[in-house]
């Protein structure tokens, strides 16, 4: 197999001339602190705004192909236009032109020249194909497993025992500290496809099969994508958010995600909306893009009235069917059918990017998922408003 050269050479940043994103993403880190939830500095899904090596390689190849095909189009069109204008029938001319039946030389010429052009095109393609698809995996690589579901994404970090959903955090891979992410992709049900244009081309997720891809994000920030293989009724609403963190931030995020949640025994502590005591023990700051840094609005939300008890919420959660589908690590909830909720509040959106993760939306979602994402496989449990408020209060503690 063709060994990859990418992990050895010095990487030069900002070489790609893209009209869309360079300026914006340079400003990104500052924007994270202020906006936190969701829409950061104008992230793009343009395939021309490439911020990872596979995407860059493809972009370069695409320019090469465009140049060749552009030349072909231009020359053929010129000839055609010329022929139509110059050889148009003059009015009142009823004679027939000389009948020419063919010419071996001309026909050979326009067979051989295209063959040569294609050889060039093919060789250029082969080079990029092997360098992306058969790249060797360095020891420093991060492993991520992606499992597609109807209609959400499951992400697992086997090296860290972390499971999350819909929003993927990845470390920056810079020239000094190369840490590409090597992903294994599969599906729990039907075919899906993982597509984040700025980072790489898409790779399909198939049941009973493991596909592989890799990316090395070159700039921190938020990257957007969505499922790109029709997978059922809500295919359009299976969105992707990839947060690329500086290495330190990523380590902190991992550490936070590795924390387990308690069975809430202390009703007092829950009433005051205290965050998880295990989190308090940590010294290092939370990643700036974690929504946990924002003000806890639980008590101020009209939806979750004052005094609604997260403990009661956990009881409702654990006695209704929720735990059949969802996992909250550290508690008895260990269902695998739906997204892992252990650190639900560390995500900025719900339902695979469909609504933002605010208490109102969270309550609306668990009360009636079929209104927000009809066709989603989470059923409407027809609980009372009070039960839904309690569950919301509990979920709000899952930071």
């Amino acid at each position: 197999m063709h060994p990859s050269k990418f992990w050895d050479k010095d990487k030069k940043e900002g070489q790609v001339k893209s009209p869309f994103s360079v300026r914006q993403l340079v400003a990104a880190p500052g924007m994270w602190v202020s906006t936190c939830v969701g829409a950061a500095a104008n992230p793009s899904t343009s395939t021309f705004s490439s911020l990872s090596t596979p995407a860059r390689e493809v972009y370069g190849l695409s320019l090469f192909v465009l140049a060749i095909t552009g030349m072909i189009f231009f020359s053929v069109s010129c000839l055609l236009v010329y022929a139509l204008v110059h050889f148009r029938a003059r009015p009142d001319d009823e004679t027939e032109p000389p009948q020419v039946f063919g010419s071996v030389n001309i026909e050979l010429a326009w067979t051989i020249i295209p063959i040569l052009t294609l050889v060039v095109l093919f060789l250029g393609t082969a080079r990029v194909l092997f360098s992306i698809q058969d790249a060797r995996k360095p020891a420093s690589a991060l492993d991520v497993t992606v499992v597609g579901h109807q209609f959400w994404w499951e992400f697992r970090y086997p090296q860290y025992n972390v499971v999350t959903a819909n929003e993927l955090h990845l470390p920056l891979s810079s020239a000094e500290a190369q840490q590409p992410t090597f992903m294994k992709l599969t599906s729990a049900d039907v075919m899906h496809s993982f597509w984040v244009p700025q980072l790489a081309g898409k790779t399909d997720l198939l049941p009973n099969r493991v596909n592989e891809m890799w990316i090395d994000p070159l700039k921190p920030g938020l990257y957007l994508g969505q499922c790109a293989q029709f997978c059922g009724i809500e295919h359009a609403k299976m969105l992707l958010r990839i947060y690329v963190d500086e290495p330190e931030q990523f380590k902190n995020w991992i550490a936070e995600q590795q924390q387990k949640q308690p069975e809430i025994k202390d009703q007092q502590a829950a009433d005051e909306g205290q965050p998880n005591p295990k989190i308090d023990e940590r010294q290092s700051p939370l990643p700036p893009n974690s929504p946990a840094t924002r003000i806890n609005t639980a008590n101020e939300s009209a939806v979750v009235p004052q005094g609604t008890n997260a403990h009661d919420g956990q009881l409702v959660f654990e006695h209704q069917a929720c735990i059949n589908c969802h996992t909250v690590a550290g508690t008895i909830a260990d269902g695998r059918f739906g997204p892992d909720l252990t650190h639900l509040m560390s995500r900025s959106t719900l339902a695979a990017g469909v609504v933002s993760n605010t208490p109102d939306q969270l309550n609306a979602w668990i009360s009636a998922p079929d209104k927000i994402k009809p066709g989603s496989l989470m059923p409407n449990m027809h609980l009372t408003d009070r039960q839904n408020a309690q569950i919301t209060a509990y979920l709000l503690t899952l930071k």
Binding site: V58, I106, L129, F230, P374
Partner: protein, 567 residues
């Protein structure tokens, strides 16, 4: 063009249709009956064309609903479920109920006439093939009524036109939408195979005296190649659909991943059908171009042997490229490389054909009546379509472009920009032969320009949302992606095309009653169909023709310069 006076052996009366004018046209019921029981290839051809035109309007209506829904992000014009049925039905209808029937219709009509035969080899098989195709169409549309009825769009298929497994397995599609898709297309596939057998048998076994295979016009050649492709390609689809039905109803496990079955196998089987299928759709329009462009350039087709070889070559190579629809599915790098290569290889014979058309025009005396206008647009648009196809064949770039609107733009460039435009050209060219009337030239030009404007407004622009990351088959999209304005332009273009099509349909109907009378040979052409009256009598030729070159009528009109010595 003036109709030249063609001397008739045995006097002018020898070849005339002798049905007395007082013969009476029969009651409406008798006329209808004669159409229903017909085995005449000309009538069956027109029935196929009529069926296809009907479904063209229906499929067009479906796409208008799609384009309205996509006009703004988060639109609620139709629900997700309805939208998914719309794009599935639009694709399925256009490929199986418009594309195939209309091309088989023209083939049915023209192939016997062009080879000097009186009918197809198997007239009753011909009729059966038509009616089972029509039944398939009816069954597919009957699905709208099942389930929750019309506005909930019932059980209409909603799994995309390629119906990937395991989405189509019972576990994920519990209703009947998949069943309607599988059975209806199965039925129409039988019709396609029947017609293909007929066309090949006719072309090989029914040619008139003197017409060796190398003297057969290129249109029958293209139809023979197409028919071979159908024989090799429709079988795999039929097999895959049978497997799917076995899974759904007999507990089979072909695509049941829980039992070890494979989703990728369906993809291979479908595209082993699906890729040759699109060549099935494009080769007959190449055939039309091979007949129309020479006549309107007043020159013989440049390089007949190369054209014939290239056409057959395209047929063969198209059987080896199917997995370029699957570059992202996880094949090995060598697998991806092979299919990149084979896809690029198919552009060689295709390029040869394009250059030969250019060389036919070169040195000619080009006339710009409506058939030629559509053919010229076809040439430009075909070049672009082929080039975006080359772009898609570059597998690493394909990893970005696959399943995005770039692909949708590419294949509509082929299907509409090349195929439909050439079908329109064929209508303007052969309608006089079929009905005895000329289509209105002024309306033709309106049709043409509206179509060109609408087509480019929609499909040129459509490449860009794809390049900006917009996947296909999504019922709505996010407002912050930068796709909104582009989608709006695309939708407006669709409206232009709809209006153009309505102008065309009006032209078809109005010209039948009020069009100028067309003689046997309004375009001063050279193949055998132009030596019969318009419309031809049921027996086609009063006397079996004999030919000595590829352009028998040219030989007659230019006895001082016949083609014989040259080719």
């Amino acid at each position: 063009m003036d109709t030249p006076i063609i001397p008739v052996a045995g006097g002018m009366e020898a070849g005339l249709d002798r049905t007395p004018a007082t013969a009476g046209r029969g009651t409406y019921l008798e006329t209808l009956h004669s159409w229903v029981v017909t085995v005449d290839h000309k009538r069956l051809g027109m029935l196929y064309i009529g069926l296809a035109l009907l479904f063209l309007l229906v499929g067009g209506f479906e796409v208008l609903l799609i384009r309205i829904q996509l006009f703004v992000p988060h639109n609620t014009f139709v629900s997700a479920g309805t939208f998914n049925r719309m794009f599935t039905m639009h694709g399925t209808t256009m490929v199986f109920l418009v594309g195939m029937p209309i091309l088989f219709g023209f083939g049915n009509y023209l192939v016997p006439l062009m080879i000097g035969a009186r009918d197809m080899a198997f007239p009753r098989l011909n009729a059966f093939s038509f009616w089972i195709s029509a039944f398939g169409g009816l069954l597919l549309y009957y699905s709208f009524i099942g389930g929750v009825g019309l506005f909930g769009t019932g059980s209409a298929p909603d799994v995309a036109w390629f119906a990937y497994a395991p989405l189509t397995e019972r576990a994920f599609s519990p209703g009947h939408s998949v069943d309607y898709w599988a059975v209806a297309i199965f039925a129409s596939g039988i019709g396609s195979i029947g017609t293909s057998i007929n066309i090949i048998a006719t072309a090989f076994s029914m040619r008139c005296k003197g017409m060796t295979l190398m003297r057969m016009p290129l249109l029958p050649w293209l139809y023979v190649t197409t028919s071979f492709l159908v024989l090799l390609a429709v079988g795999p689809l039929t097999a895959a659909q049978a497997m799917l039905l076995i899974d759904r109803y007999l507990g089979g496990h072909f695509f049941d991943t829980q039992a070890g079955g494979s989703a990728i196998l369906w993809a291979h089987f479908f595209w082993i059908f699906g890729h040759p299928e699109v060549y099935v759709l494009v080769l007959p329009p190449f055939g039309f171009a091979n007949e129309i462009i020479p006549v309107f350039s007043r020159k013989a087709i440049f390089g007949y042997p190369a054209m014939m070889a290239a056409s057959v070559g395209i047929g063969f190579v198209s059987l080896t490229v199917w997995a370029h629809h699957m570059f992202t599915i996880g094949m090995t790098s060598f697998g991806n490389l092979f299919f990149t290569l084979s896809t690029m290889v198919v552009s060689i014979p295709t390029g040869i054909k394009t250059f030969n058309w250019l060389a036919t025009i070169w040195g000619g005396k080009v006339r710009f009546e409506t058939p030629m206008l559509f053919s010229i647009a076809f040439l430009f648009q075909w070049v672009i379509a082929g080039l975006t196809g080359i772009m898609l064949s570059v597998s690493p770039w394909n990893w970005q472009l696959h399943n995005s609107y770039f692909v949708v733009a590419h294949f509509h460039y082929v299907l509409v920009g090349a195929i439909l435009f050439m079908i329109f050209a064929a209508f303007y060219y052969w309608y006089p032969k079929m009905t005895g009337r000329m289509l209105n030239e002024r309306l033709g030009k309106w049709h043409f320009w509206l179509m060109v404007i609408g087509f480019h407004m929609t499909f040129d622009v459509m490449h860009f949302p794809g390049l900006l990351g917009m996947p296909r088959q999504i019922f709505t999209y996010e407002p912050d992606r930068g796709w909104t304005t582009l989608n709006q332009i695309v939708s407006v273009g669709a409206l232009f095309q709809a209006i153009a099509t309505l102008v065309f349909v009006y032209n078809l109907i109005d010209s039948y009653f009020h069009g100028d009378t067309a003689g046997p040979d309004p375009w001063d052409a050279w193949t055998l169909e132009w030596s019969t009256p318009s419309p031809p009598p049921v027996y086609n030729f009063a006397v079996d023709p004999e030919v000595a070159s590829r352009r028998p009528l040219w030989d007659l009109k230019h006895p001082e310069d016949p083609d014989g010595p040259y080719e």
